[in-house]
């Protein structure tokens, strides 16, 4: 990549500064607000932020558009909900969840057994989706499925999973989903969804995953991944194992989404096949696109902005809200392909260099570059 530009947007120290400001702002909220609703709501936004972050990582940096991020999110959420459900069961008195009795199951299915143990359950909630991404991603990237084709395949898998979870009613309670009656008990603390405990849990997880993702993008690995997005053929000719890098970045984004799924499950105490809804997965992409897919922090803020607007402004419009969101989204794609991040970059660029733009850590017009390799 080119030498350091004059645009202060690309100043790494400053970028870390922005991250710090954002997270400090989030950290202040529970100190000044003890309203259970606000805490829960912002924690939920934090979950959406994690999802947008995961999209930004694989799409903005890896060039892999993923319309099925609900796969990891849903699997993670199911894992966590199963863990919480088993916490409310008693091996002696009522060893199996009520819905299974209604579906004529006499004993707990074998794949529910590990969820008796909370740590094992959470571990599985993260492992299964990640492994799924490794296998599915491996298959697809080995076959050099890329670009829009890959996006459509993720959609297909998402629909297939939703169908499967609905059909396996005795094991998943079908469409009704699982609503564990109690809050998550981690042994040393109970993660009450309406308390600051759950807020801080989500906060820490969002912080950790953001920092890790940021470090990843700045590492050697991240550099190769970004090169892939710009021209995967050239990277291949340079001797890199392209499919490995693609699978890896896809799996990491899946891990983050699975983490978000876990948080979602303890925040709402509910999981259902609606988590595999196509519209939901696409809205994750919308958050990242509006915020700016090429910037992790802006993608997160995109989730906060869109969902916040929906919560607080959406009600004023009732019927026309979706219309407004759709129009706004079209405008962003048409005129601001880099989202708000791109806008900020151009503005800062204009301020600091009189409009001269160079590619760097966060290139502007990646949309174009990304497609050449696709």
């Amino acid at each position: 990549m080119a030498a350091m530009e004059k645009n202060i947007y690309h100043n790494k120290a400053l970028q870390w500064g922005v991250y710090a400001v954002f997270f400090i702002a989030l950290a202040i909220i529970p100190l000044v607000q003890d309203d259970a609703f606000i805490l829960n709501q912002f924690a939920t936004y934090g979950v959406y932020g994690m999802l947008a972050l995961s999209i930004s990582l694989c799409w903005g940096f890896g060039g892999i558009l993923n319309l099925g991020q609900g796969i990891a999110f849903g699997l993670g959420a199911y894992g966590m909900a199963m863990t919480m459900q088993m916490q409310s069961q008693d091996p002696d008195i009522n060893p199996i969840p009520p819905f299974m009795l209604n579906n004529a199951l006499e004993e707990l299915p074998f794949f529910w057994e590990p969820f008796w143990n909370t740590s094992a359950g959470i571990f599985l909630a993260l492992l299964v989706p990640t492994l799924f991404y490794v296998i599915f991603g491996g298959l697809m990237f080995q076959a050099r499925v890329a670009g829009p084709f890959f996006a459509i395949m993720t959609l297909a898998i998402l629909s297939a999973l939703a169908t499967l979870f609905i059909d396996l009613q005795p094991y998943t309670n079908g469409v009704n989903g699982i609503s564990p009656p109690g809050a998550l008990d981690l042994g040393f603390v109970v993660v009450d969804p309406y308390s600051s405990v759950s807020y801080w849990t989500v906060f820490v997880l969002l912080l950790v995953s953001t920092v890790c993702a940021k470090l990843l993008t700045q590492s050697r690995f991240g550099l190769v991944v970004q090169a892939l997005k710009n021209d995967s053929e050239r990277v291949r000719f340079l001797g890199y194992h392209v499919a490995f890098y693609e699978t890896a970045v896809y799996a990491v984004s899946g891990l983050i989404a699975a983490l978000a799924g876990c948080c979602w499950a303890f925040l709402t105490q509910y999981v259902s096949p609606a988590q595999f809804d196509v519209g939901f997965s696409i809205s994750m992409v919308i958050w990242a696109a509006i915020g700016g897919r090429n910037s992790l922090i802006w993608a997160i803020m995109g989730a906060f902005m869109v969902q916040g607007a929906q919560s607080y402004v959406g009600d004023e419009f009732l019927n026309s809200w979706v219309l407004i969101l759709g129009l706004f989204f079209i405008l962003v794609v048409r005129f601001l392909p880099g989202g708000f991040a791109g806008l900020t970059e151009s503005l800062l660029g204009a301020l600091s260099t009189g409009g001269r733009r160079r590619g760097g850590d966060v290139p502007v017009d990646v949309s174009k570059a990304g497609t050449e390799g696709a």
Binding site: V145, P148, A156, A160, S320, L323, L327, F329
Partner: protein, 294 residues
């Protein structure tokens, strides 16, 4: 429980053809738009929905007979497609992932716009009463309307083939598909070709809509049920017309046979999984559209 007789197996195979024709009618417009311009049109389902609403409006308020509603829906939706292409899509041709997103935005707008105009209660398209019967030969039976849909599918394939391989416009389209720059240097206005193709694809979705409005329910959200399957047909087929035809045929039969042996839900799941496995070994699809993909 499973009762495999000769008649029921034949019925399943015939039904497979019918399901295939439905898949094909749904995917045809998408194939043309994708095959020519490389645009993944996420609003395709909503074009289908618009076709159904166009038919509903004409039939209900203007008293247009059903068979006339079909070509008129083509025109209405083609014009809407034309407007959308001119005002938005034409700026995004070199950014395929962005067109995918932008058209998703378009689909939200269309869905909600229709809801605001027509309300969210379901509408219904009446079909001529002589159509609501079946053709039965012994124990083998198929509904007349399904035969009609099949005939329309064949007619549409014929029309599209003629348009692409027997007209000047078709030559231009194929030239632009194969090499846009080269075609331009021969004086073909590629932007115009794209516009016309997009309108054509949208119009075909309109026809699909007026047919599906009879089989199904007319609702602002009706298009979403077709769009994922239509995409899979295009992707499996490789973006070419022939590819989509074969993909629809095979998947339609597979869906019908699996549903006959197992059940509908499992059939759907199985078909998805088979497509994923197929694409693992043939990522470019059955028959690649040519210049669009490397």
């Amino acid at each position: 429980m499973l009762d495999i007789t000769f008649a029921s197996s034949i019925n399943a195979l015939i039904l497979g053809l019918s399901i295939a024709s439905i898949f094909l009618v749904a995917a045809l417009g998408l194939t043309i738009i994708y095959g020519t311009a490389g645009v993944i049109n996420m609003a395709h389902g909503e074009f289908i929905m618009l076709g159904a609403y166009a038919s509903f409006t004409m039939q209900n308020y203007l008293g247009v007979p059903f068979f006339l509603c079909i070509p008129l829906s083509f025109l209405v939706v083609a014009v809407i497609g034309l407007i959308i292409e001119r005002s938005l899509i034409q700026y995004l041709y070199n950014r395929p992932l962005d067109t995918l997103l932008a058209t998703w935005g378009v689909s939200l707008v269309l869905m909600q716009g229709v809801r605001l105009i027509f309300g969210s209660d379901p509408k219904y398209i009446q079909m001529p009463s002589f159509m609501s019967t079946n053709i039965a030969i012994g124990d083998v039976s198929i509904s007349l309307f399904r035969v009609f849909v099949f005939a329309v599918a064949i007619a549409l394939i014929g029309a599209v083939w003629w348009l692409f391989y027997r007209t000047d416009f078709g030559i231009k389209v194929r030239a632009v598909t194969q090499n846009k720059e080269m075609a331009a240097s021969f004086g073909i206005n590629s932007s115009r070709v794209y516009t016309m193709t997009f309108a054509l694809g949208a119009g075909l979705a309109g026809i699909a809509g007026s047919l599906f409005g009879v089989l199904n329910i007319v609702l602002p959200t009706m298009g979403m049920g077709y769009v994922v399957e239509a995409f899979l047909m295009v992707v499996t087929g490789g973006g070419s017309l022939l590819g989509t035809i074969i993909a629809s045929g095979v998947t339609g039969e597979a869906q019908s046979i699996f549903a006959f042996i197992f059940n509908d839900t499992f059939a759907r799941f199985l078909v998805f999984i088979l497509i994923v496995i197929f694409l693992r070994f043939r990522p470019q699809g059955l028959i690649s559209a040519g210049g669009v993909r490397r």
